[in-house]
Amino acid sequence: MKNILNYSYYPGCSLHASAQEYEASTRGLFKALKIGLHEVPDWFCCGATPAHNVDELLSLALCAKNLSLAENVAGDLAVACAACFSRLKTTQHRLIDNDAKRQQVEKAIDGPVPLGKKVKHLLEILARDYGLERLQSAVQKPLAGLKVACYYGCLLTRPPEVPELDDCEAPTIMEEVLKATGAEPVSWSHRMECCGANFTLSRPGVVLKLSGDILASAKAAGADCIMVACPLCHGNLDIRQGGIEQASGTRFDLPVFYITQLLALACGVSTERLGLESMIVSPMPLLREKSLL
C-alpha cells in the first residue's frame, strides 16, 4: 500500500539509546498513519549542545553534513528529538545569509549545504502535513478522560526566529495534537520552563529544583501525566522523578509519555510496540485506571 506522505528521517542518537521507546512508538505511529519514514543512511551525531559550546564551525559542519546526507533521501527531513531539530534548523538559519560562513562550512564538509531541505519536527508533520482532522479520524481508541500536561521544553520554539514551529512563548501545537486523541490538555504554568537539561549530570541539584517545579506545576494543574517531545526532558522528568520526590518530599507519580506514545496508543498501535515498559514511572496503573489498555 502506498504511503500518504514520505519523509527522510533523522532519529538522532537518543532515539537509538535512552529514548528507544520514542523511536519505537514513532515508527509504530507513522506506520499506522501510513506516513513513510526513510532513515538517512550513515547519519551521525548532530553535535547537540556540547558542540556549539566548543566550536561553532564544528557544530555547523556536523549538521550540514547530516543535511547533505539527508539529501540522498527524498522528502522533507523528519526529526523527533527537539535538540537535533533545533541544531539542524539553527544550522540552516545561520548559513542562509552568511555567505562567508557557508563557504567555510562547505569547505569543511566538501560539498554544498542543502539550505533548502525542509527540516520538520514530528509535531509539525502530524499537525500540519498530516493534519489534525485526519489525525482525529485515525484515532481508534480515544484517550478520553486522560488529563495531560503538554510540556514543550526550551528548544521546540526557541529562539523565536529559528524553529518556525509555533508561537515562541505561547505555542499550542502539542495541545492541538493531543486534543485529536480525545485526551484533555490541562492549562498549566510551566509548559515552557527549562527542565535543567544537561545539568542532570554535572549539577543534579539544579535539575531537581527545575524539574521539580515542572512536576509540581503539572500536578497542581490536575494532570494525570506529562507529554514531551524531547528525550532529554523525558530523562529529567521521568528518570529523575524518584529523586525529585525524595528531595522535595512530595509524591508526584506522573508518568512521562512521548507524544508518539500517546498518539500511537490512541491510534490502536499494539501497546507492545510503545516501549511502555521502559518508562521509569510506570504508566500502567494510570492507563488501567482510565481503561486505556
Binding site: E161, C168, E169, A170, S189, M192
Partner: protein
Amino acid sequence: MSRIGVFVCHCGENISRTVDVERVAQAAARLPGVAYATDYKYMCSDPGQSLLKKAIAEHNLDGVVVAACSPRMHEKTFRKAAEATGLNPFVCEMANIREHCSWVHEDREEATAKAIDIVKLMAARVRRNRRLAAITVPVTKRALVIGGGIAGIQAALDIADAGHEVVLVEREPSIGGHMAQLSETFPTLDCSQCIMTPKMVDVANHPKITLHTYSEIEEVGGYIGNFQVTVRKKARSVDMAKCTGCGVCMAKCPQKKIPNAFDKDMGTRPAIYVPFPQAVPNTPVIDRENCTYFKSGKCGVCAKVCGPCAVDYTQQDELVTEQIGAIVVATGFDLYSIEPKPADSPIQGYGEFGYGTIPDVIDGMTFERLASASGPTGGKILRPSDGKEPKEVVFIQCVGSRAREKGISYCSKICCMYTAKHTMLYKHKVHDGQAYVFFMDARTPGKNYDEFWRRAIEEEEAVYIRGMVSRLYQKGDKVVVMGSDISVGIQVEIEADLVVLATAVQARKGADTLAQKLGISYDKYNFYSEAHAKLKPVECATAGIYLAGACQGPKDIPDTVSQASAAAAKVMTLFAKDQLEREPIVARVNERFCAACFACKKVCPYGAVEEKEIRDRQGNLIRVVASVNPGVCGGCGTCQATCPSKSVELDGYTDEQVMAMIEAL
C-alpha cells in the same frame, strides 16, 4: 536676459588670494549676453551693493551674476539689492567662486580658470532665467483640530485665543482623551482631572471654538489655506440643543450593566451615558448597541423621563462641511494590549504573560483608574479578581516597547516615569504594601524627572529589579512572576497579588486611514511623520497640516502641550497674513503638451499635482491634463525629470537653464 552684469568679489583676500579676479571680470565681459563686468573688494558690503545697484541702473542691466561666495550665504542679499533697483530678484544668481573655488584650490592659474568657467556657467544660466513673481495663496483663517485630548485642547485654545476660529473634532462623546482618565501626573503628582477639566470647560465656552464631539473626519480636500473638510457627526440620539444635562435619563435607564470603557471596564454605565461625570459636553449619548430600545424596540424610558424631550431615537449621522485653512492633527495614542496577536498584525503577542487571562495582571491605565478618586474603587487600590488590597505589587516596564523580537523597537518614553508614579501612589494608599519594578533601563530625562524616580526608590521604597520577566502564572490566588535580576545575575520569583504592565504606547488604530484622508505620511508603526526630525518637528510634509502630541510618537504631557502650542503657533503664523506668499520655485504644467499620463502625479511627494479638466465654452470636456497647485508644490522638480515630454517645468530650474549650463561646460 541679454544685458547681464557680472560682479566679481575679492572677498577681502579670500577669493583674490588664489583667483585673479580682474582676469575673471575681463573674461566675463566677453561672455555672450554680458554687458558689464567688474570686480570689487567686498560685494556684500554697503558700498558693494551700491555699486551693484548703480551699475544696474547705469548699464540698463537685466540680469546679474555675482561671483562671490556660496549662494547659501548671500543669494538673498544680492537678490534683495537687485530687487531694490526694480529688477526681478530671480534674475540675480551667484557664482560660487569662494567655497567651490578659491578656498579649495591653491594653484592660481587653475583656480582662475575654474572661476571663469563657473561664471560662464552662471551667465549662461541667467540668460535663460525668467522673471518669477512670488506666489500668493489665499488663506481661510479657520483651523481644524482633530482630537480633543490635551494636545487638541491646548492647540485649539491657543489658536482661538489668538482670535481665529477653530473647529475641534473628537471621536468620543466627550473631549478629554487619555489625560482625563489619569489619576495624578508626574513629576508633581497633581490631580490630572483638576488641571484638565477647567481646560475642557474653556473649550466648551470659547466663542471661537466649534466643538464636534462623537464625530469623525469623513473627507479632506483642498490644500494649505483652503481645505474643505467633511465631518461625520455620529447620531447621538440626544438633541444637543435641547439637553440640559440633568442626568435623569441616565439614572432611569434600566440597562445599567454595561462595562464602562472609561474605567477600563471595571465599572458599569447605563446605555444612555456620558463617559465620565465631568464630560464636555455634558450631553449623554445612547449606545445603540446596548440600548434595549434599539435592540428590541421596547423600553423608551429615557425619552419618557426627559423633560426637555431631547432624546431622539430617529437621529441620523450628519455630514458637516467646514472651510479650513490649517489642520492640527492631535489624535493621540492607543495602549498596547496583552491579547493574542491579531491575525494581520506584525506585532507578536505576549503569550508568556498569559495573554491577559490572569485577572490580576492589569495595564497601567487600569491602575490609573484604580488610583483615581473618581474611579470605580473610589481611589482604593483593590485588585480586580477578588477586590482585596494587594500587598505585593509587581510592575513590569517595557511591555511591548523596545522589544524588537516582538515587532516594536521604539521606547514608549512615558512608562519609566508613570511606573515610578504608580509605585508612589500605591505606597501612599497601601502603606504596608511593597512595590517591585522590573525594568531594563530607567529613562528619566526631564525637569525633576530623575529626582522623582529616585524618590520612588529612596523614599517610597519601591524595589527596582533590573531585568525582564520571563513568565507570569497563576498559583492559587497569587500571580507568580518569574524574572531575572541581571545586576546580581540571579533568577527571581515573586508571588505577587497584582501585576501591572507598563504596556507600549502605540499609534491609534485607524491612524493610517486618517493619514490617507489627510494625505500625510506615517512611519511603519503608523505614527505620523513630521516633515523634518529637527527643523520641522510639528509640520507635516503636506503644507498646512501640523502635528501635536502622541500621534507623532510617544510623548508625555509636558511635551505634548509644548508641541500643541508649537503647532498652534505655526497655524497662527500662517494666519498672520491674508495671503500665503512663497518662493516661486514651483512646477508648472504646459497644458498644451501634457499627455495626461500623470507620471508627475505619481511621483509628487506633496500631492500637488491634480487632474484638471479642460472644457470648451459649452462645458464639454475636451481633455484632462495635469495641473500643479502652486500652494502645495514643494519645488523638488521630480515631476519634470519624470515627465517624458517635459510638459511640466520647475520654475527657476527649467530644462532651458540646465541645458544652457551643460552647453557652457
